[in-house]
Symmetry: C2
Subunit: 343 residues, 2 copies
DNA sequence: AGTTAGCACTCAACAGTCGAGAGTGCTAAC
DNA sequence: GTTAGCACTCTCGACTGTTGAGTGCTAACT
């Protein structure tokens, strides 16, 4: 049996109401608040059908219905109305961005704050794509910091800087270091970060002096690549989780908080398969046992054709999807704008 | 009335037991588990005295006693035995530090992880003293990133690097930038960060060309000082909070989580008045309404005579103080060692 | 004088019990 | 196809009685 138009309307009403109240929705509520032309008995019949089709669950015999994950899927795919943000909400969001920031990281912090304040859900931003393979080196800079040590700075094309302390084999003046930096930069600029070590050994082979310095640099670069996650991860508003009745059970809340504390897991949650701008994953679709009762909504933002990262929201499956999407869209745009201005 | 030796022993037993079980302690428990030579009636009399002296509270008429803040104070000051860490615990902690790290921030991350894993309390590390006034500039470096922009890197004496994107008035080659960097570094090295702007305007006055670049640098530095907090703050194990019965009330937990999300507040918690190595603040001593039921234990760590930062633990007043102190001590030492090796 | 046994008393926590309220499913009438 | 009506189910909150842990006091004991 396919759903007819009335069933769609009723299902939508149930979902809307449940998202608002977090309480199982009864037939009478729908009849009064949403479908005044139909009596509760009619609604009951329809609801019974919808349950049989797998769109509704009933927690127990006489407690109204709650939407199933399948229903949420239908909802976000077809039923939900994409409403634009209200002007005052937009203003409130904009207020967060008023301060001029000079660093990507700071802007990201603002964005996360704005998003979690606006939606009251936990927000995450990942300032690099998960596969960081296309980051290329822009500049390599050695700075003398005394005692035979040098600070190596790797500037990547995204404008981020990685720093590593090198133990040089011997004392080197700043002039020597300048020179070395320039030569290395000339040869390495534009190389993908992961290819740098190979190229470095290649260079070292044809190098007549200063092998010790080069080997130090090599080691530093390797460590940098192996160690430093090329993604910046900023989380905000995790305390919001506890406001929702779904997490009034402390154990559930703790489980989720633990996920949020684990870098890898959060990154896995933000990984979207396709190249879509928005992705909504509901319940088990998140692919993680701990988040089986959560939904994750993400947006990837770009500057030009470059994917710069992902911004996302984590909350209960009963989420205000339309509002979240609107906020995500707005914040994502503003964020991309600010990054564009920086670069 | 002063406490006699037996009262001390009984109070200690009560505190020990309460720390372990989180349940009000009755006279019979003490008589059986700790003071087998005394009957529960005797203990009752003593407990009654202790209550009158303000060391014990009773939640209601027939529920046993719980230690007051005053009792905890006495406990940490006099009663508590400073036990060294068990060998296996030490080993478990050491395991965290096995990976060689090159950056202060990464090491700090390890330390926080180790500490929260070992104690099951929330841990915080602050990698700079609160008054960052004695950070001095070591090196200023301008890096061409194209399109009339330059990346300015400020290397401070602690080895941290601050980066800011500058809009130069005009296109400048890397050679020019090298030169400018060197001159500025020569003049500014050793200057306290907050004094740099004043000195810069001074230099600008006597500068014959490239005013536009200098003003860009000046603006960048000012922004850097105003904006970047000179302290790094890393928090770990906030999910542990929810394991304690004190925070099974979701509202309390949320309140506390919100504190942990607010940089300023966490920093205020870590601020210790004196120059002590360890500081224990109990309940209201933390000076913040939200943490009236928490204790904060901090240790400041040094390399040489330099105070490098503070490492701390936040948990319920009913905290395993002796274990926390031992872990804090051990982690603090290891941390300082690793930093020393880095610098 | 300090210690202890005994006893009455208090209070939270727990388990039942009960009625109210919300909701369903079914049937029969419209 | 829709609706009114009704019996039935289940949760929730209020109330009650019971249990057990614990106290405070008193009187006896060492």
């Amino acid at each position: 049996m396919e759903l007819d138009e009335r069933k769609y309307r009723i299902l939508q009403a149930i979902i809307d109401d449940y998202i608002l109240t977090a309480a199982p929705v009864g037939s009478r509520t729908i009849s009064r608040k949403y479908e005044q032309k139909l009596s509760s008995a009619t609604i009951r019949n329809e609801m019974s059908d919808l349950e049989e089709l797998g769109y509704l669950d009933s927690p127990h015999t006489s407690a109204g219905r709650i939407p199933s994950h399948k229903a949420y899927r239908l909802y976000v795919d077809q039923l939900m109305q994409r409403v634009p943000l209200a002007p005052d909400e937009m203003q409130a969001l904009q207020a967060h961005f008023d301060r001029r920031m000079r660093q990507v990281q700071n802007v990201a912090q603002l964005a996360v704050q704005a998003l979690s304040d606006a939606t009251h859900y936990t927000s995450v931003i990942m300032t690099r794509p998960t596969q960081a393979t296309h980051t290329t080196l822009k500049q390599l800079q050695l700075v003398n910091v005394g005692a035979g040590n040098a600070l190596m700075l790797l500037v990547t094309d995204g404008g981020t800087v990685k720093q590593t302390l090198l133990r040089l084999g011997r004392e080197m003046g700043q002039d020597d270091l300048y020179h070395t930096s320039r030569v290395l930069t000339e040869r390495l600029a534009g190389t993908r970060l992961e290819d740098v070590p190979a190229k470095l050994t290649q260079i070292a082979a044809a190098w007549d002096e200063g092998q010790d310095v080069l080997s130090g640099v090599l080691e530093g670069v390797q460590q940098q690549i192996a160690q430093t996650p090329h993604t910046e991860l900023i989380i905000g508003g995790s305390a919001h989780l506890l406001s929702y009745p779904e997490y009034s059970d402390v154990d559930k809340a703790r489980e989720l908080l633990q996920v949020l504390e684990t870098r890898d897991k959060v990154m896995r949650l933000l990984e979207t398969g396709g190249e879509m701008e928005f992705s909504i994953r509901i319940g088990s679709e998140t692919g993680m046992a701990e988040t089986r009762d959560c939904s994750v909504v993400t947006a990837t933002y770009r500057v030009g054709s470059d994917t710069l990262g992902t911004i996302g929201i984590i909350g209960p499956t009963r989420m205000q999807y339309s509002k979240v999407l609107a906020a995500l869209d707005y914040v994502g745009r503003t964020f991309a704008d600010m990054i564009r201005q920086l670069e």
